[in-house]
């Protein structure tokens, strides 16, 4: 639960950072087009809004065109979404049921894409989806978490997504999925599989979502005359020195969900909340003796005043707000806070600077972290949907348009898979309302592309602005990665902006033009340089051994066990329970369902095979 929240939070923050940074995270490595292509594209862009789209776009082969369908009779496809009151459409007349994207879909596929509801936030959206499930009125296309998918699939409410993609997916879609499979050691579909069938296609996002890490205030370290700590003992020394100078400050940020304890746990190679391999078996991280050591250390630090004495009443948001006011010396949080509260800190706290604090080494000189597969949520199709293949056709269209300018990918697809792109390479133009958007980053971008030149959401910012809402985003992780690599190199002055891809450059310049752009880019470069190699370091970085759906014993007991864990850990840290409480916690955890859960998890691991 804790982890899910953390990831959800991370996802939200990614969006927040995206809207702050001028250009969202979504656009991938679109290679800049050769000059002149725009003219070609524009002249041939007289795409008719009829069934014969195929022939209008140059000379795509017969075989590729079967992946693009125009329904002869209009069909209805319902979905659901969450957007806040600050959401802006491109025009005042637009709404979730009628906007550039839905009109485009209607014109080119004859699909009426509409919303069964829109929720003000993700939590409400999740609840509404559960209620729709309970009342048997699931929309045709849904976006749901792993446990929801498991629940719905068990009730027979979802279509077989794996089979749909196999039957209707374009080679490009399949190529991207294969790539994601490779990058996740074949676990891509697993969180959304049930009984060997994949029921949902995870929303692919950048590996950046994994990037949670500890930060420390570099300016305060300078003041103390200390270097960035790299071990638990060095951290403690720095905290002691910091508290001496700033008795009211918080040395180590902690929140009521204890997300922050991961910094310390890393030093003991303890993995609370994750399933880890031990002696050929998957065991629950929170009940391992390493966690006991970590808790003992944290309790000691709490006693010494390094933690906020009232951290239990503050959630991550409040902790970040405190950090924004410069009250926090070090904390563990997501990378994209550099587009959020850290901006406040740089603006308000004179001379403040952030440094990446590596996961500290413990007594034996090692450290380790574990994380769940972060591709969440996932989109699925209701079993009651009359045209389950329609979503796959939409994805075919969308991804083709989305990657149209990636010349390398075009070539690979053509040579290896005989797949011709449906949409031509198109000159990427600058947005025309850049000045307004700088004043109000929530505004959507506008472009002066000729009206007749369309592509599935490629223009007028539909790609980034609406595709999040409709769940059609398809950032293929590896392709997107180098954009950020280029941004990081640009921030270090190793790469001029002119040499970057269009989207990398626009991210780089967008971030750079924010009031705290210099700090933001410098910190991002540090984060990138720290995490990029870390992801490949299997000594330190572990993926959760259990990526399956909620098991029966979890359904019955997880809530109680989570409560027990949160209560015990919190009270041990606060000193209202002695460290021995950990031992009785382990016994109680095992006796009250933990043993059953462990058995089920191991059964799942031995039965699961990559799809």
């Amino acid at each position: 639960m804790k982890k899910t929240l953390a990831i959800a939070l991370c996802f939200l923050l990614a969006l927040a950072a995206a809207s702050c940074g001028g250009q969202p995270v979504a656009p991938s490595g679109a290679t800049s087009a050769a000059p002149g292509t725009s003219a070609t594209a524009a002249s041939q862009g007289s795409e008719p809004s009829a069934a014969n789209v195929a022939t209008a776009n140059g000379e795509p082969t017969e075989t590729s065109e079967k992946y693009f369908k125009y329904y002869d009779d209009p069909i209805d496809l319902t979905t659901h979404m969450a957007f806040s009151s600050t959401w802006t459409w491109h025009s005042a007349d637009d709404n979730e049921n009628s906007n550039g994207l839905t009109r485009w879909i209607k014109d080119h596929t004859n699909i009426n894409f509409s919303c069964s509801w829109n929720a003000p936030d993700d939590a409400t959206n999740t609840q509404k989806l559960d209620l729709a499930f309970a009342s048997n009125t699931l929309p045709d296309v849904i976006q749901a978490s792993s446990s929801q998918i498991a629940k719905y699939a068990a009730a027979g409410k979802l279509a077989d997504m794996g089979a749909l993609i196999e039957a209707y997916g374009s080679p490009l879609l399949k190529y991207a999925i294969q790539e994601a499979q490779d990058l996740t050691q074949g676990t891509f579909y697993l969180p959304y599989s049930y009984g060997g069938t994949a029921y949902a296609l995870p929303i692919m996002c950048d590996t950046l979502v994994y990037w949670w890490l500890p930060y420390v205030r570099g300016d305060l370290l300078d003041e103390l005359g200390m270097a960035v700590p790299s071990t638990l003992d060095e951290m403690e020394a720095a905290f002691a020195a910091y508290k001496e100078k700033h008795p009211d400050g918080v040395a180590l940020g902690m929140d009521n969900e204890l997300i922050g304890l991961r910094t310390v746990m890393a030093g003991y190679e303890a993995y609370p909340g994750s399933w880890v391999e031990k002696g050929g078996q998957a065991v629950y991280g929170s009940i391992q003796p390493e966690v006991r050591q970590g808790l003992e250390r944290l309790a000691d630090w709490y006693r010494k005043g390094y933690l906020d004495p009232e951290f239990v009443t503050k959630d991550m948001m409040q902790l970040l707000a405190d950090a924004g006011e410069g009250k926090v010396f070090s904390l563990y949080t997501a990378w994209n806070v550099i587009g959020g509260n850290f901006q406040d800190m740089w603006a308000n706290v004179e001379g403040s600077r952030l440094e990446v604090m590596p996961f500290p080494a413990g007594p034996d000189g090692k450290s380790g972290i574990a994380t769940k597969v972060a591709f969440s949520p996932a989109r699925a199709v209701s079993a009651a949907c009359e045209h389950p293949e329609a979503l796959v056709y939409l994805l075919n269209q969308y991804w083709d348009s989305f990657y149209r300018n990636n010349l390398e990918l075009r070539q690979t697809m053509k040579d290896k898979y005989g797949y011709e792109f449906h949409y031509p390479v198109t000159e990427v133009r600058e947005e025309i309302n850049k000045a307004e958007r700088e004043a109000d980053p929530a505004l959507p971008s506008f472009y002066d592309y000729p009206e007749e030149l369309t592509g599935f959401g490629y223009f007028n910012d539909y790609v980034s602005h609406y595709s999040w809402l409709y769940g059609l985003t398809g950032v293929v992780i590896s392709v997107a990665n180098d954009d950020f690599g280029q941004v990081a190199r640009g921030a270090k002055g190793e790469m001029p902006a002119e040499d970057m891809t269009v989207s990398a450059r626009s991210t780089f310049e967008g971030w750079g033009s924010t009031p705290q752009g210099g700090q933001m880019l410098a910190t991002f470069a540090e984060i990138y340089d720290y995490w990029e190699p870390l992801m490949g370091d299997s000594q330190i970085f572990h993926v959760d051994a259990f990526t399956g759906p909620t098991t029966p014993a979890m359904l019955e007991r997880q809530s109680y066990l989570d409560k027990l864990e949160a209560e015990t850990f919190t009270r041990i840290i606060m000193g209202t329970q002695p460290i021995e409480a950990f031992d009785s916690f382990v016994g109680e955890w095992l006796a009250n369902g933990g043993e059953d859960i462990t058995r089920e998890v191991n059964e799942w691991i031995s039965s699961a095979s990559p799809l």
């Binding site: 639960m1 559960d130 499930f133 009730a155 009232e310 009443t313 359904l555 009270r571 109680e588």
Partner: protein, 312 residues
């Protein structure tokens, strides 16, 4: 209350005699609330079936497999169920007792205030918090009750060591009860003030002639005058003995006070809403209602038996 009873009796008599042409109007007025109660309170009763099932939305209420008392057993097999029920009762009883007492005392005091404008503004100020959501009030109090907050600063002036009201299991229940009392006593006093204003002035005049001062009048005229209302409110409140105030607890509690702060409703919230365990939630909800009904009937019986006052 009494007036209504009289009306009802009169109506009943009229109906028996068969000639009260205006009766249908009374029944017509009753129809709307009756329909609402029927639709929203009686029809859903069928849904309690899912408390005895392995409910699956797919199969529906009629198609799901029956599992008897499984969910009740699962709940009571939880190591913390006894603690949760005990917390709930302790917090609820504390809240009922404190806010009723505070309301009665406040109504009595307010009744003695002479300036009409002063009295009205006092009343408005005190019942205002009732309209605020706990989400808002909670945020304010989390700040005020922190170890460096206002309350601890005041206590500090008297030499008391700072207390962590929302992080200390021993202090959580009293804190929750006091905050609830603060929020609701003004609202609760409205009922009593209405009851007080119904007391015949003759009684006060007679008491004055007999030589009773203000205190004696309050004790021997006002208090007995509102006894009926007080009993009725207490009996009705007992029906909610397992309602310890979900919203408040959810906003104020945290893992370090689960021991004394976790109540039945927060438990249902975690299971029912966060984990979507419909059957389990329904079972606990049913359990809550049954306990409430039993206590209310018992209290009503006791009220009738010992003070000759019948609510139901």
């Amino acid at each position: 209350m009494r007036a209504n009873t009289l009306d009802a009796r009169a109506a009943a008599k009229g109906a028996a005699a068969g000639r009260r042409p205006s009766d249908w109007r009374l029944y017509a007025m009753l129809a709307a609330p009756a329909i609402i109660v029927f639709i929203f309170s009686y029809i859903p009763i069928g849904g309690v079936l899912i408390a005895f099932q392995n409910y699956s939305p797919d199969k529906g209420v009629l198609g799901s497999e029956f599992v008897g008392l499984k969910w009740f057993r699962v709940f009571f097999a939880m190591p913390d169920s006894a603690r949760i029920v005990a917390n709930t009762v302790a917090i609820a009883v504390g809240k009922i007792a404190c806010s009723q007492l505070a309301s009665v005392v406040f109504a009595l005091l307010l009744n003695e205030v002479r300036g009409a404008a002063y009295k009205r503004s006092l009343q408005t100020i005190t019942y205002f918090p009732h309209f605020l959501s706990w989400v808002i009030i909670g945020t304010v109090f989390i700040d005020m009750l922190s170890t460096r907050g206002l309350v601890n600063q005041i206590l500090g002036a008297f030499g008391t060591a700072p207390k962590f009201f929302l992080g200390d299991p021993r202090l959580f229940q009293p804190t929750a009860v006091l905050l609830e009392t603060w929020k609701e006593f003004g609202w609760g006093a409205i009922m009593y003030l209405a009851a007080i204003s119904n007391i015949s002035p003759d009684l006060y005049e007679a008491a004055t002639i007999d030589g009773a001062g203000r205190l004696k009048q309050a004790l021997h005229v006002t208090l007995p005058g509102i006894r009926g209302i007080a009993l009725m409110l207490a009996v009705l409140a007992l029906g909610g003995i397992l309602n310890a105030g979900f919203e408040q607890i959810l906003v104020l509690y945290n893992p370090s006070v689960y021991e004394t702060g976790d109540i039945v409703d927060t438990f249902i919230y975690r299971y029912g809403l966060l984990d979507a365990q419909f059957s389990m939630s329904a079972a606990i909800g049913l359990f809550k209602s049954l306990i409430g009904l039993a206590l209310m009937l018992a209290a009503n019986w006791a009220a009738a038996r010992f003070s000759d006052y019948r609510v139901l």
